[in-house]
Amino acid sequence: MTNFIQLLIGGVLTGCIYALIALGFSLIFRVTGVVNLAQGAFCILAALACASFETQFGWSILASCIGAVAVAVTVGAVVGATSFVPGLTRLSNANMLMLTAGLLTVFEGAMQLVWGSQPYALEPFSGQEPLAFAGITIPTQGLWMLGITGVLVLALWALLTRTRLGQALRACSENPTAARLMGVSVPRMTLFSFCLSALIAAIAGVVIAPATSLQFDSGRLFTVSGFIAAVIGGIASLPGAIVGGLVLGVVNSLATAYLSSLYSSAIALGLLLMVLVWRPSGLMAGGPARRQDVRDEARVWKRVHRLTPEARRFAAVAALIGAIALPHGMASEAILSSLVIVGILFIALIGLDLLMGWCGQVALGQAGFMAIGGYTAAGLAIEYQVSPVVGILAGMMLSLVCALILSVVTLRLRGLYLALATLSFGLLVTSFAVGLTELTGGPSGMVGIPSLEIAGYAFDTTESMYHLVLVLDVALIVISQGVMRSSFGRAIQAIRTDQMAAAALGVNVLRTKLVVFAVSAMLASLSGSLYAFNFHFLSPDMVDATRSLELVAMLVIGGEGTLIGPLLGGLLLTLLPTVFAPLASAKTLVSGLLLVGCFLWLPHGLYGLLVDGLNRIFRRIGGAARSGAPSEEGAR
């Protein structure tokens, strides 16, 4: 019994932190209708800054905490003003979600550069000695967590209900247009809410830091926990955020103690999915209903980028000749092996492109399927000497099954919720990859994976892998192009922007989405298997949430909804660190920055640039060839 109470108290204490982050989610969501995935990063930023102030500058605890929170809020203000607020007027809600995922990547990359990847822990505010009575011990830091949460909640409540500022903020959330008519500056209020939630998250980070160890990428765990808490409570409801946080904290604490820490994230995910299915508005629905449609607003689709036929033929032939010629003395071994990686990732990227770019469903857990494919094929090959091809097929089947189970839930979800469900699926797979040590080799990875072998021929050199991947990719492009030009392809693109109009024409929306989701999962699985065979090694961090976000970055940077775009994005992000060695350590930061930049300034990605450039050249050549013929003709 004492033990149980002990666990309960522990749960409530962590729950406080979840509740604070969830509060930040709800606050921003109410004002903008967007979920800010970078929320957890402010926690870590403040905690790490606090650690530096304390240990390197020798500041007092109080001074370090205030300094750290100030740093986080300042950074929040700059980031909010330069990316979040301008993005709101240009991007659809789901794309805003991707933008904040990009911001999370930027934060993680920057913090990795500044603080390295080792974990940091702070000294508790009032010493190590815990309070004890009736056999129950409470760390003093827990009391700080409880107290500060209480003070923050009260302060927030007072701000929202008792001040003009709070009134304006609430006006923005009830009806932005009316608020604007009443003279409230909505962008300024948005920025204010962004900073306010950064402040809350930063304080949470500083307070939790002594109770656990944090590193540059712990932010995403806070983001996910905070989001799950917010959804359980009802994302538009501020009291709901607190309830959700406490529920999640207690459930997590009990699950970790009585089952295993391995299953605590599974249970959190299960809780999330249950709430999403049975009570999508959460336990405590509140606030105005926000539209969570598919990516309905026109963002990317201001223009259609198509190559003229002659330009397309020329580019295809040139690219193919280049790709075949490359291994023969034109590329170094390092570049060639990078190209193999690009080629392997491209398989997953096409799947993601199908799902996100063409069909408009945001997916943040693609690497989860890569992990399933990689571990299944490699594990079977090591343990049972199963031939790689059979292993790959088994992995694809397993991914298909997982995708079908997941889609029972996710097909009912759209936009925001779908993105978060897939993100938590990816995290779930990672936690299994780390936890099931006897199957996967745990955090240190699976070693001794054989080379890929097809019908007795072993692909054990970089060059042979390169040729295999080249053939696969070309086949994939040809097949995808065929599908995209078919009725099925057009139906997918119709669903992307207008499910209702598509259904009204007799398109079976649910089945089409299911097929696309399953295909993308199987392609990711295939890519994961090849990845494992290529490296002869697979560890959880090769196929974790960072990888999922990286795939999204490659897709958006290259140009979603195109077949060649993802290839360009993959090439850029993979080759940059190889060609410019200093960039290698800043890879995450660069990919995050490029992702955010593309969302804001280059909506058509590299492919859009390329097509415009090529078309212009061919127009000029065509015009010159006709010498005097009206150039308009050449353009058509």
Binding site: S487, Q493, R496, A501, A503, A504, L505
Partner: protein, 270 residues
């Protein structure tokens, strides 16, 4: 000239029985019943807020009725999903043109043909001759349709770049590509200029002459009177008159509720 009235003997295509739906305190449709015989053009008219679009949404499965039933060709379709209803051949357009962004005009039209495509995506993957043949046939049909409404010149343009009037025509074409047994048009003439409206009227008559059953919501009375054989008048969610155009035009309740103000401007010439 107004086409002859359909006789009671002709087979009822769409039958709406006692449909009720309210949104909060607003009774959008109250006990609405009427039927649309196969092979006729029926117009649904009424002042703004009379519940016309709600009725469309109820019939096409986008909104569920609280009570009442809808039958199409004798089959009960109340509460059936929008996709299923469309697959029965009941195809609608939307009040604001909803062309698919990211697709060209021609591709938009071809999406309409989706429900009649028989070859599987796998056949298209390896471009089997059967798939290529079907694709070519679909493309030719779409091109012919676009030609009829004068959109073939812009067929490779991004659909959302078209002016509103052309987008609405494109939407009608897209619906026709779905080979509807019954076409539901929601204010096809709204936002169209005079010459576009004339094009639309010609298109509607052509559709009617092809034997496609049409239910059209329209404010343009001249258009309604020239095309429809049956007119259903809605006011405040209820049917206040139903019959041939001349009969309805003479109905005092209709004149009071709706046409009274309109007769001077449009109603006179038909």
């Amino acid at each position: 000239m107004t086409a002859p009235l359909p006789h009671a003997a002709s087979r009822p295509g769409l039958e709406v029985r006692n449909l009720c739906r309210s949104f909060g305190g607003l009774q959008a449709t109250a006990d609405v019943s009427f039927s649309v015989p196969f092979g006729t053009v029926t117009a649904l008219v009424g002042p703004n807020g009379a519940g016309k679009t709600t009725l469309f949404n109820l019939v096409t499965g986008i909104v569920r009725p609280q009570s009442g039933e809808v039958f199409f060709d004798g089959e009960r379709i109340t509460g059936v999903s929008a996709g299923k209803i469309a697959s029965l051949g009941l195809i609608r357009t939307f009040q604001t043109a909803r062309v698919f962004p990211g697709l060209t005009v021609l591709e938009n039209a071809m999406v309409g043909g989706h429900r009649r495509v028989r070859t599987s995506p796998f056949a298209h993957m390896i471009s089997l001759p059967s798939a290529r043949r079907e694709e070519r046939a679909l493309r030719e049909r779409a091109e012919a349709m676009l030609d009829i409404v004068g959109l073939s010149r812009v067929r490779d343009t991004h659909a959302v770049e078209l002016p509103m009037g052309s987008q609405k025509l494109l939407e009608v074409v897209r619906a026709l590509m779905a080979a509807p047994r019954m076409l539901l048009l929601d204010e096809p003439a709204a936002g169209l200029n005079d010459s576009e409206t004339a094009d639309l009227a010609a298109l509607l008559r052509a559709i009617r002459d092809c034997g496609v059953t049409v239910l059209v919501v329209e404010h343009n009375m001249a258009l309604v009177m020239s095309v429809a054989q049956q007119v259903v008048v809605l006011e405040a969610g209820a049917v206040i008159a139903c019959g041939g155009p001349d009969e309805v035009r003479a109905d005092p309740r209709v004149i009071r509720a709706y046409l009274g103000a309109e007769t001077d401007t449009h109603g006179g010439r038909s």
